[in-house]
């Protein structure tokens, strides 16, 4: 439906509006859509109605045309390459986007920095070393998905919008861990190998597999145990808020992978291949965070309560790693890759709990 015929006729013929074409008043798009705010306000789910809510399985929209808008045949293309919904979509994506909008926080104001206490040197330096590692790798988790946004069709815009929230979250994480390192007299310490290797991915699903399913999942498990690492309320809040953000990223990865495997089961082996590669790396480099190197040492000191208690700290670190790996296995089962249990890298598999009957 478009503008009432009589009104259009009046606009075109009355002296007041002569000279205007007004063809655009009848663009052929859905008209009469009215959306009311729901319990969480006017969310994307509330406005995804009629044709505007119909997300095509395959997009032939190569311009920036918003989903549901009328097309101009002459509009230039913009390099859209990810045309299949299954390549970028997740059933939760609109909800996760709104969650991200609702749960933004400020590293400047929402962390009780005044609660930072003077720490023994070994604990302060261990926290600073951990923060050096985290501030080093967090940008990668924004830069990498950012690479793919320009290839995502506006028909699947929620996927692009979610990544924008992740870019914001990761920038804030880079910032908050840097602030923690610089706020209490410690400073940044030794940079490690970092996470540059992640930038070598060439495919969106490869990115989601390595970044969301594995790397961020491991970091999330660690952040959720922040109570054990933190020395004061400021640090506890940092880990709690960062874990909340990571949970969204991990949820996006899980639900995307689940959707992909349901719609393109032929890609399962390809995903196993990515996991083979990443699990191998996790067992051998600092990217494992809890597996070795200065980040593991600093974690062991923090978990043990001092460098003289590092052996006790390592015992706790093993428990953290066990939890990371079992939570990872749980995610794999949820998305339909339960057979990963048999194929997992032995360095990780040794931490798996037995299957529950």
């Amino acid at each position: 439906m478009a503008v009432d015929k009589d009104v259009l006729e009046m606009l075109r013929t009355e002296t007041d509006y002569t000279g205007l074409g007004l063809d655009w008043l009848t663009p052929g798009t859905d008209w009469g859509v009215k959306s009311e705010p729901g319990r969480k306000g006017l969310t994307l789910d509330e406005i995804n109605k009629s044709t505007y809510g119909e997300v095509p399985d395959y997009s032939s929209n190569f311009t920036a045309r918003p989903r549901g808008a009328a097309m101009r045949p002459e509009a230039p293309r913009l390099g859209i390459r990810l045309q299949n919904k299954s390549e970028v979509w997740a059933s939760t994506i609109a909800m996760l986007y709104e969650e991200a909008q609702a749960r933004q926080w400020s590293s400047a104001r929402d962390i009780p920095w005044g609660e930072l206490t003077q720490l023994p040197d070994d604990l302060e330096l261990a926290m600073c070393q951990l923060c050096t590692f985290l501030t080093q790798v967090e940008f990668i988790a924004g830069d990498l998905p950012g690479r793919f946004v320009k290839e995502i069709s506006a028909d699947h815009m929620e996927a692009g919008l979610f990544i924008a929230t992740q870019i914001m979250d990761e920038a804030r994480h880079e910032d908050v861990f840097r602030k923690r390192a610089l706020a209490n007299g410690g400073g940044l310490l030794q940079a490690g190998p970092g996470a540059v290797g992640l930038l070598q991915v060439t495919d969106y699903t490869e990115m989601t597999t390595l970044l969301h399913l594995v790397a961020e999942g491991f970091v999330q498990s660690l952040f959720r145990m922040g109570e054990l690492i933190a020395n004061n309320d400021a640090e506890k809040k940092i880990f709690r808020l960062a874990a909340q953000d990571e949970s969204r990223h991990v949820a996006l990865g899980d639900t995307h992978m689940k959707y992909l495997i349901e719609t393109q089961p032929e890609r399962k082996e390809e995903i196993h291949h990515y996991l083979d590669r990443q699990e191998g790396l996790l067992g051998t480099t600092q990217a494992g965070l809890t597996a070795g190197g200065q980040s593991a040492e600093s974690l062991a000191i923090l978990l043990g309560g001092g460098k003289d208690k590092i052996d006790a700290g390592y015992q706790k670190l093993l428990a953290v790693r066990k939890r990371q790996i079992n939570e990872y296995m749980h995610r794999l089962e949820v998305i339909g890759l339960g057979d990963r249990r048999e194929r997992m890298n032995p360095d990780m598999k040794q931490f798996l709990d037995p299957v529950r009957n």
């Binding site: 009104v7 009311e36 006017l42 808008a69 946004v149 320009k150 940044l188």
Partner: protein, 384 residues
């Protein structure tokens, strides 16, 4: 277990023979950890003060940590101020290592301001105050929202793709760009929500000519000039104009919040251009070339954008004549605002190089300033 050796049989690799006893005796001694990372020569002892607005980047990026080098030396993700890893690993995808390509002195404050000023389109816009409009007016608003949403999505796409090119040494810039990307994501859905909330619908996509500006930018400064200094001021002036005729708090809040976001993006553009000009005065002609490209693209887009032009005419006038006059006034306001922002960036002579379609909006009798201390004598628009 013991392995017997018979030298007479000629063991070809005696040194590889198994040891006589494989049973465990004592656990291998693990070397006592030495924690060399605790002794790296980075700066210690800072105690930044927490200001009234919390602990901001400006508060912690001080001394050696606040020292942004003109050329960043590391190819990987080494944070600025950390002690670099002794081993050479993979180089990242970064291709921007020169501060002049991305820097703006206000970037730290703008990052923190963006987070302070965050808003949610779902809950911070009082959508239930929207009032019904005559159908053609609703359609006009929806057409503008369609194009605003589309433009914002392109900004999200293109800026996101540049992040992996900017090296870690300029982390404040990456931080700020994250906020600009995030802001634009919100604009994508906020304008879409407005179009779909009040009994309307989406209109026609834009001609898409201007999108080539950001999408085909080959240098980051070019991208910033075209997006933050050409397009953003136009959007800002349109929204300030619409705010005056809005009939609901929902629209007023929506437009005001987006304007506040755009203002930060423009401020970054000004700061960046100012930095480029101060460091590399020879770049001025290059900057003019980029400005010309952006202006041409926007003018070409607008010339073909009958839906947008007529939507503004319908909204701003009570008839086509007054609507056209109001659209002309809007463009005049935009050109004045644009020229003055360039002057803020210490680019004073754009007046003489404006694209002809824009030059006609410059008030008669305006002269070029003759010293760099002057701003062009264009009245700066005052927005309510």
């Amino acid at each position: 277990m013991t392995t017997q050796h018979d030298a007479a049989e000629g063991d070809l690799a005696p040194e590889a023979a198994a040891p006589h006893d494989l049973s465990a005796t004592t656990a291998p001694e693990r070397p006592k950890p030495d924690f060399p990372w605790m002794r790296v020569p980075t700066q210690r002892g800072m105690k930044p003060a927490i200001g009234p607005q919390g602990l901001r980047l400006e508060d912690v990026d001080i001394d050696t940590y606040g020292d942004v080098p003109d050329r960043w030396p590391y190819r990987n993700d080494t944070p600025r101020g950390a002690f670099p890893s002794g081993s050479v690993g993979l180089a990242a995808s970064y291709s921007i290592f020169d501060k002049v390509e991305v820097w703006s002195d206000n970037v730290r404050a703008l990052y923190e301001d963006a987070i302070r000023d965050r808003w949610s389109s779902a809950t911070d816009v009082p959508w239930d105050t929207l009032q019904p409009y005559p159908e053609h007016i609703e359609r006009a608003i929806c057409q503008i929202c369609t194009e605003m949403s589309e433009q914002a999505y392109v900004t999200v796409q293109i800026f996101s793709s540049w992040l992996e090119k900017i090296s870690y040494g300029f982390h404040e810039v990456k931080n700020f760009l994250a906020t600009q990307i995030f802001d634009n994501a919100r604009h994508v859905e906020a304008f879409r929500k407005r179009a779909l909330a009040n009994g309307g619908g989406l209109g026609i996509e834009s001609p898409g000519i201007f999108h080539r500006g950001p999408a085909a930018s080959m240098k980051f400064t070019e991208l910033v000039i075209i997006t933050n200094l050409i397009r953003a001021p136009f959007s800002l002036v349109v929204l300030e104009t619409l705010k005056r005729i809005a009939t609901s708090d929902a629209e007023r809040v929506l437009y005001s919040n987006v304007v506040r976001d755009l203002q930060r993006h423009i401020d970054y553009g000004i700061g960046h251009l100012q930095f480029v000009i101060s460091r590399e005065p020879a770049m001025v002609e290059q900057i003019h070339a980029w400005l010309s490209r952006g202006e041409f693209l926007l003018v070409a887009d607008q010339r073909r954008d009958q839906p947008l032009n007529e939507a503004l005419i319908l909204l701003l006038g009570k008839d086509s004549e007054s609507g056209r006059a109001a659209l002309e006034e809007l463009r005049r306001t935009w050109v004045a605002y644009y020229l003055n922002r360039l002057a803020d960036a210490r680019l004073y002579d754009r007046l003489t190089k404006l694209t002809p379609e824009l030059a006609r909006f410059v008030p008669e009798g305006v002269e070029m300033p003759n010293t760099v201390s002057m701003r062009p004598p264009v009245a700066d628009p005052v927005f309510a």
